[in-house]
Symmetry: C2
Subunit: 455 residues, 2 copies
């Protein structure tokens, strides 16, 4: 580890400067869902990437999408792709922020602001790690490619086209995905994939307008139709019962099962945090972890029909709808889900239940013993002085498959977040110590991924 | 019928005066749900009942309830109870009224205003009929008792206590209920009962707050719990499957079946009005009418959970709820429904689904060949020159059982409404001709109910 003593000292000396640099980026709102600050932020990032980062970079667009920044630096046998996004979630609800979302604020060792965790912090920390590597260790022993997207938080609508057009500039032997988090027990974690997502809406129409509920004897009720249709999709024991759906689920490999066996998972902490007495199906241990990491979901995110105000109204609703979110594992894809669900409903006489597809991403799952994952484990072990927890994937979703599955690049993700970073929520935060540690770990990762020994 | 020529002439002469008298009553808002105008209206009604009506009446209250007006006049072998209510529904949504709800307005032969149909119009028409009877035919050949309630539109919370305290002043051989309507084909109708109602809310809690939907693998979702619970309550073929529920449904008698066989029911008109292709279960004819008049309902009036706005939000909801309205036929009661449902849910492991009882009324169904019903049929035949349609009951609900079942008084209802009277809705209306005809029919009814021949 002696090789990184200078690196660590360099980073600690510049800690204040690095945090200030991140604060500048946080002060610039970049809300892709609302079209706020996209070109402005792209300019800041491009400038930082080229000038201090020493990365030959440019901002490209496809089909009227936002600027996507790609760049390249260093030379070596291996090529690493770094994926980050520079856009952030909308800051609403504003009145729940203790300090304004776009005024980065330090409190008790934490930095608060929209995007500090998701994902401007990691983007900046990794640029700073490259800089520190060059300053203390020397020339990069690998080729680094960067991909900074500007619309991840609103669905990455142009990313697939971008990869199709510019894939050659993204090819690599490994990819570091946007983020990673310390778990509730403070352990660093690494994840090697993401679940996919298929978000869709079910809609049912009954009469042409709400009717008096005394007519419920004879006039069909779309709320009941929706309930009956939903009840065919998932059983009371939480098993997804859409025809053919579970057949598409790839079972964990022997290696993945072994990983799951030893995966730390703070069950009591999760029960406490969510205020529940038991998990779904009363599961625990291996079976709970297997369900969480290797099984898909079918979630009612929202359902509404008829009168939902205070008191009572004797109404027979004219419309009913539900928003459904499927989290996907291999080999489920959004298209497959929509097709299976349509056939499933039709087969049961629910032709009247309309299926309206929304946002979709396929899943992306990579071996936990890839060159990327192994280098990440070594880097975290060295930087944190403890073995990281390796997750087969994060249960969340993102456009990983559009990049890594398309180009065949094994993934690992680790970063500066914590278990209460509040991504997408008010008071998003990172610990300043975790930010510094991510720079320290990322410098080591570059070294390890290039095949150099860390100790 | 010659005996009623003078009566009819008298009513036609006073038509303008009678309508103006009704307008005065409409101009006085009486919104029991909002505590508006109750004592003011009670004073107007009491004054009208005593002074011009010649009815010995008084306003009584029980347990802090609104004034309930009871009165008595006439002598004879039979006693008739007239039930009306003087309160009205709130007029919202105000901007959908073509003329203000409390400014009674005549347009194209119709009178518009809140309460013209439900129920101030019938209340006033019947007082005017009694007056016309005395003026043209002579002394009343029966004893008439009146009961004018002031909180029917907000649940009749004090009526049961009133009947318990003052039941002796309400005893009668027959009761005329508040209302009746011409059907869509313009035929006068009579109904001999009401369905009851049990309105309740189902509530389920999951985690202590909304969670990220990626946790749906392991954190229970109250929206799914609610859907599964609901799906056990009614089958896809619209059969109520709550244990023991349908066992409590009294089957139609031979007489009722015969009535149903010949009951006119404009199926094509109903399909058109509601913009639907088929009725529930694809029913038609006798089976459709039987379901409508003799079967209970279990209706989702409202359901809500999670995110219901535009676009998508990947949320795992913390709470879910549904408002359920049961329309009851004998021998179902609100208490029985709540008890059966609780046991049904518990038996299936849905102890987490809370059942919160709301407004309830037992059903009330009376023979269609009672003395009351027969006199109503004769009166309508005479006044309208056509045989009325006799419904076993109205599919709506009201506090009929609290009065008539408690005291054992057979019911009939007929009145001045039409198929588009828009009770409880904007632009409530009656045809002025129907109003006059109700006075004409009601005068005849008094005669027939007292055992006098009409022809």
């Amino acid at each position: 580890m002696s090789g990184f003593a200078d690196f660590d000292a360099f980073v600690r000396t510049r800690e204040r400067e690095y945090i200030d640099e991140l604060k500048v980026l946080i002060r610039q709102p970049t809300i892709s869902a609302q079209g706020i600050g996209i070109p402005e932020t792209a300019r800041i990032i491009l400038d930082r990437t080229k000038k201090r980062g020493g990365i030959a970079a440019e901002a490209l667009t496809v089909d009227g999408g936002p600027p996507t920044i790609v760049g390249e630096t260093g030379r070596g046998e291996r090529t690493l792709l770094i994926y980050n996004h520079y856009d952030v979630q909308p800051p609403d609800p504003l009145d729940e922020w203790e300090t304004p979302p776009f005024e980065p604020t330090e409190r008790d060792g934490y930095l608060y602001g929209r995007g500090v965790s998701d994902n401007k912090g990691n983007l900046m920390a990794r640029l700073q790690a490259i800089e520190a590597y060059r300053a203390t260790i020397g020339e990069l022993p690998l080729r680094i490619r960067v991909l900074y997207e500007g619309e991840e938080e609103s669905g990455s609508a142009h990313l697939a086209a971008f990869v199709a057009r510019h894939g050659e500039r993204l090819r690599a032997d490994g990819c570091i995905w946007e983020a990673g988090y310390k778990d509730a027990a403070g352990r660093p974690t690494i994840s090697c994939g993401l679940k996919g997502i298929a978000y869709l809406e079910l809609r049912v129409r009954g009469a042409n307008k709400d009717a008096h509920s005394s007519l419920a004897t004879i006039v069909p009720n779309p709320a009941w139709r929706l309930v009956w249709a939903l009840a065919t999709m998932k059983s009371e024991s939480d098993e997804i019962t859409i025809d053919g759906f579970m057949d598409a689920v790839r079972q964990p490999t022997t290696a993945e099962r072994a990983l799951l066996e030893r995966l730390p998972f703070d069950e009591q902490g999760m029960l406490r945090i969510h205020g529940i007495k038991r998990f779904v199906r009363g599961l625990e241990g291996y079976e709970l972890r297997k369900k969480h990491f290797f099984e898909p979901t079918c979630t009612i995110c929202g359902i509404v029909s008829g009168y939902t105000g205070a008191g009572s109204k004797t109404v027979l609703p004219a419309v009913a709808s539900a928003k459904i979110d499927f989290r996907l594992v291999p080999d489920l894809t959004p298209d497959k889900v929509t097709t299976l669900l349509r056939a499933h409903l039709d087969r049961r006489g629910f032709e009247d239940v309309e299926v309206v597809p929304g946002h979709g991403e396929p899943p992306s799952r990579w071996p936990t013993d890839s060159v990327t994952a192994k280098a990440a484990v070594d880097a975290c072990q060295s930087a944190y002085g403890t073995a990281p927890v390796v997750y087969p994937l994060l249960a969340g979703s993102g456009p990983m498959a559009q990049v890594c599955d398309t180009l065949g690049i094994p993934v690992a993700g680790f970063g500066s977040g914590n278990a209460a970073s509040a991504n997408h929520a008010p008071n998003e935060n990172i610990a300043i110590a975790d930010y510094v540690d991510h720079i320290r770990a990322f410098g080591r990762f570059l070294h390890a991924f290039a095949g150099r020994a860390l100790a």
